[in-house]
Symmetry: C2
Subunit: 121 residues, 2 copies
Amino acid sequence: MNHVINLQQKLALFDDHWSPKIVAQLNDYHVKVVKVEGEFVWHKHDETDELFMVLDGELTIELADRDAVVMQAGEVFVVPKGVQHRPIAHTECHILLLEPAGLINTGDAGGALTASNDDWI
Amino acid sequence: MNHVINLQQKLALFDDHWSPKIVAQLNDYHVKVVKVEGEFVWHKHDETDELFMVLDGELTIELADRDAVVMQAGEVFVVPKGVQHRPIAHTECHILLLEPAGLINTGDAGGALTASNDDWI
């Protein structure tokens, strides 16, 4: 991969929600962009931390046993591995994710919102 | 680490160039912010890819054996492991870096621009 990735151009290529698209790979990690709106499912990733960066909009991440965090564009939050969390966006929000390649978006929860973990854009 | 990281607030805390500051950890990776201006040294990292995201300004990355890339704010580029590269910023540029914890900024080159690899902000 020897090209510059423009995140806004990538985001313009799709409209579906809660379906992360891979835009870059760093060693065995994937950088993804995703559009979200509404409430996701409570879940956790026992094997890894997960990084969220808001690119546009506002994202709330509810966390088990601690206060929720509210993130604006240009803000980063790392959900520690093993911590139950639930992303919520009251209006559409654009996010960059960083996580190990192959991670399942719904973690241990599964269900209808489970998306492909190998969807490049 | 259970707090939101505002990248602009972190960048406002320092003025030195070519001296990355760690703002977040994801498993054994560090997220860093750095201000750069001028020409860095040619170097490579034989053991890892390195991700650059421009937050403000314009960054050129010269690459051995291939065309240079020019990046604007909101753009991402991954320098593959083992590839000689040299970042250049004609005016001050703010960058987010993602790389394994402990990575040395000057890679195999060393020299006067070698910075701390454990400088949190």
